[in-house]
């Protein structure tokens, strides 16, 4: 990704587009989390770690990235991906724990099977946490990882 704009449709163009998508997604998620005041507990700091990792990763591969920077960016993106997936799990678990407080599910929670309980928590029928929201960080991480495939900095013969 050099100074000249890449030719539309070229691999360099798509790498730049994917990297831009990763950056915009990360920034948007940060704004969304800030609006939701997602810092009420220590656990709610997890996505901020992922956002920091993604921000650094995007900067690392933004221009003329060498092999080391690309590798570091990939590691950071992989970390963000894992944290995003962990966020889904924590949201489901949070919904599960909050179920007894629910006006409807609180009455029947003890009679429900374990599978039914986890399903209700997973599909967001109970609890306050949006189940799949953290996956947006995993998506940004995947975009960044894809943007490094065939990168001249790490795979000179790829292009």
């Amino acid at each position: 990704m050099t100074g000249r704009p890449p030719e539309v449709g070229s691999p360099t163009f798509f790498r730049a587009a994917l990297l831009a998508l990763a950056g915009v997604t990360t920034a948007g998620t940060a704004i969304e989390l800030a609006m939701a005041r997602h810092w009420q507990s220590l656990e709610q700091g997890i996505p901020w770690i992922a956002i920091a990792a993604m921000s650094v990763a995007v900067v690392l591969v933004m221009r003329n990235a060498g092999p080391r920077r690309v590798q570091a960016a990939r590691a950071l993106a992989a970390t963000a991906f894992v944290l995003g997936c962990a966020g889904v799990w924590r949201h489901v678990a949070g919904n599960y724990d909050a179920a007894p407080l629910d006006a409807h599910y609180g009455l029947i929670w003890d009679q429900m099977s374990s599978l039914a309980r986890w399903w209700a928590a997973f599909i967001d029928s109970v609890g306050p946490s949006p189940t799949f929201a953290p996956m947006v960080l995993a998506q940004a991480a995947v975009c960044l990882l894809l943007s490094t495939i065939g990168s001249p900095g790490i795979e000179p013969a790829g292009e």
């Binding site: 009420q40 109970v126 949006p130 799949f132």
Partner: protein
């Protein structure tokens, strides 16, 4: 280089379609049970089930001793009115004792939620911030009002 270009295109399509599918599935959650508005009457709801034996923090000496219970005064002592504890400063034990005195079901769990959303602005006597966050749990009618009724500011 037509092969390379199609490879890149496929990668881009995969990067966009997978999250799009995830987003679509997240947005199509099945209908939740009928939400119970928490703006019902201010009396605490009777617990739908026996208060579960949640492993809360100690139930120590935090029973909120309300003033004026020593008789001899001719005031109209509201016997059922729970003693108020500080929304911002009360300990978990104090909150739980207050909630249990107000017969709020799942007191220990509500204590956790009240503490999670601290601090509450002292210039908002209605505790709107707390109400806004507790409603997300879809509580039974009256529960939020009962919780707020046991709390004071700061």
């Amino acid at each position: 280089m037509p092969v390379r270009r199609s490879d890149s295109l496929n990668a881009l399509l995969a990067a966009i379609s997978v999250p799009a599918l995830l987003l679509a599935s997240a947005c199509t959650t099945p209908a939740a049970p009928a939400p119970a508005a928490s703006t019902a009457a201010a009396q605490p709801a009777t617990p739908p089930a026996a208060t579960p034996a949640t492993t809360a923090t100690s139930t120590s000496t935090a029973t909120p001793a309300s003033t004026g219970s020593s008789g001899a005064s001719g005031t109209t002592s509201a016997a059922a009115a729970p003693a108020k504890v500080s929304a911002n400063n009360a300990t978990a034990a104090q909150l739980q004792a207050a909630f249990e005195a107000a017969k709020i079901p799942n007191a220990a769990n509500w204590v956790r939620e009240v503490q999670e959303y601290r601090p509450y602005p002292t210039n908002d006597p209605t505790l709107a911030k707390l109400r806004q966050n507790l409603v997300k749990y879809n509580p039974a009618p009256g529960v939020v009002d009962a919780i707020v009724a046991t709390l004071s500011l700061p």
